[in-house]
């Protein structure tokens, strides 16, 4: 089932649901005809999208607002923080083409600080599904929850086989091992899984964690990874500031745990725009490139220790 179909099914079940967009319709193209007036397209104005969503939420609705992640989280940031955040309204924000998924669009469209911005809003939940199946499984949970929520949208096919049900603040441990622990989120779970297979081939035991939600985050999964593995790697298509690398640092400090952590992220630069496979390879985030980077770091540590 696609995201659009899942949303439509849920909208038929619950009449509080209003599907909104700032004229970004690709994944919800079928909904205008089926939802009628409960499909609200405000045109290319993200601020009004969010203000209107807040107004609808004040009336008891659950708006699901769609726009490109970069414009949703940045053009409308103050509306999200002020109208949705201060009032803690149950507005659900769905950001399209986050991170590397903006492919060849260029830095204007690159949402690589969205996690930092959204998790900085008190009460805001941040959900980063690994693939469309995980997003579809998370959707009813997100809609039932009374908090505001930001979703890093993906429509990619299954990255891995998911067995655990979705829950906020609950990571999915896809593989267990004590050599390297890879913590990641979003579609990069797929690349991390490919890297895991390569590392295992090199005789390194790998723990692979799909964090699923970054706010709240599964602190135990992070602490446990650092305690068990000789090297913990965070992988994300996000700036170094405020994303998973920062979250891991905050969690480890809070729990007074130290360990070797290798953060893989974009640092402080935008990525080279290109089609996704090229971006992944060029930026060092494809399965093979990740495996090589992690292996080199792991050997350095092993030789040093």
């Amino acid at each position: 089932m696609s995201y659009g179909e899942a949303l439509q099914t849920l909208a038929f079940q619950r009449d509080d649901l209003i599907v909104m967009t700032a004229e970004n319709r690709a994944p919800i193209r079928g909904l205008p005809s089926s939802l009628g007036p409960r499909f609200v397209d405000v045109g290319i104005c993200e601020q009004t999208l969010i203000g209107a969503a807040a107004g609808l939420a004040l009336r008891g609705r659950t708006p699901v607002a769609h726009a490109l992640a970069a414009f949703l989280t940045m053009r409308a940031f103050e509306f999200i923080r002020t109208d949705v955040g201060i009032a803690r309204l149950p507005v659900k924000l769905v950001g399209y083409v986050p991170g590397f998924l903006s492919e060849a669009n260029g830095p204007t469209h690159q949402a690589v600080e969205d996690v930092a911005l959204m998790r900085g809003i008190p009460g805001m939940r941040v959900v980063c599904p690994a693939d469309e199946a995980e997003l579809v499984a998370a959707l009813p949970v997100i809609l039932d929850d009374p908090s505001p929520c930001y979703v890093r949208y993906t429509s990619l096919p299954p990255a891995v086989r998911h067995s655990e049900p979705f829950a906020f603040g609950k990571a999915e441990v896809l593989a267990d091992g004590d050599g390297v622990a890879i913590l990641t989120y979003g579609f990069l779970v797929r690349e991390a899984e490919a890297a895991r297979v390569r590392l295992e081939e090199q005789g390194i035991s790998v723990r692979l964690v799909n964090l699923r939600t970054l706010a709240p985050v599964d602190e135990e999964a992070i602490v446990e990874s650092v305690r068990c593995a000789r090297l913990t790697v965070t992988v994300e298509d996000h700036f170094g500031t405020g994303g998973l690398a920062s979250i891991a640092a905050e969690v480890l400090l809070r729990h007074r745990v130290t360990g070797r952590v290798y953060p893989i992220h974009l640092g402080g630069r935008w990525f080279k725009p290109a089609l996704l496979p090229t971006v992944l390879d060029h930026e060092g985030f494809s399965g093979p490139r990740l495996a090589a980077r992690i292996l080199s770091q792991f050997r350095e540590i092993r030789d040093h220790d």
Binding site: G51, A54, A57, F79, T82
Partner: protein, 292 residues
Amino acid sequence: MTVTLEQSSLATVHDLPALALAVRGHIVRMATRGGCFIGASLSCADLLVHLYSRVLRISPETRDDPERDYLFLSKGHDVPALYATLAELGWFDRGRLADHLSVRDSLYWHPNRNIPGVEFHSGSLGHLLSVGLGVALDIKLRGGTNRVFVVLGDGELDEGSVWEACLVAAAYKLDNLIAVVDRNELQANVRTEELVPLEPIPAKFEAFGWACHTVDGHDFSAMEPVFDSLPFTAGRPSAVVARTVRGKGLPSLERRADRWFADFNADEVAELLRELHGEGAAELVTEGTVVR
């Protein structure tokens, strides 16, 4: 819950000029020990008194009724006028006004929902026309007949988000949405027309698909027929440009760019209250005393 919404029975017996005078007295008394945005509070006082007494189908008893009219104070910093109007109309105890800026209460420089009658927080300009749009849209979806009033400052019209919301409200034919512009001709520090000219404001709203009327925002008899004829055009949102005077009611403050915000000492407050009420009204200095 089915409650028949009538205009507040309290309000209908009120003498509007006397009510507005009481509201101005409260505003002056809030302009001390930390102060308040007195200029805009005084310019929109008559407007809020009129709306709450004669226009809005709402009362303290029906404050949560989904069929009530809504008023959103978008510019926010004129909230002393709203606090005073709500207190005078029985939404909360007048004694709370003495706790303006105190941590004992939540009567601070911008509105928040802890105050009975305040529908939403504001202060960041350009937000509540879109929030009001969402409420108006939901009312339409449910087939309701209630209305949504959004009070905007004229300086606030600089914000692009106001005009975004205007476009969208017209597209969705929200004739239950009413923008009320407190046109006092001054923004924070300067005259609007000397900074970023706004005129012709009515033509701008009309060009965005709204129906617009201009009215003297201090003349209750002039406001009555204008607000009685809402919506001005079926299928279009309505805009009321209320021509007002910053600092209205206190000639020593009127039209002064340097009286946007004021924090007076006790003697100055006493002097302003004498100016407001005329000589021989010294007893009105006492907090909580109400002019009728």
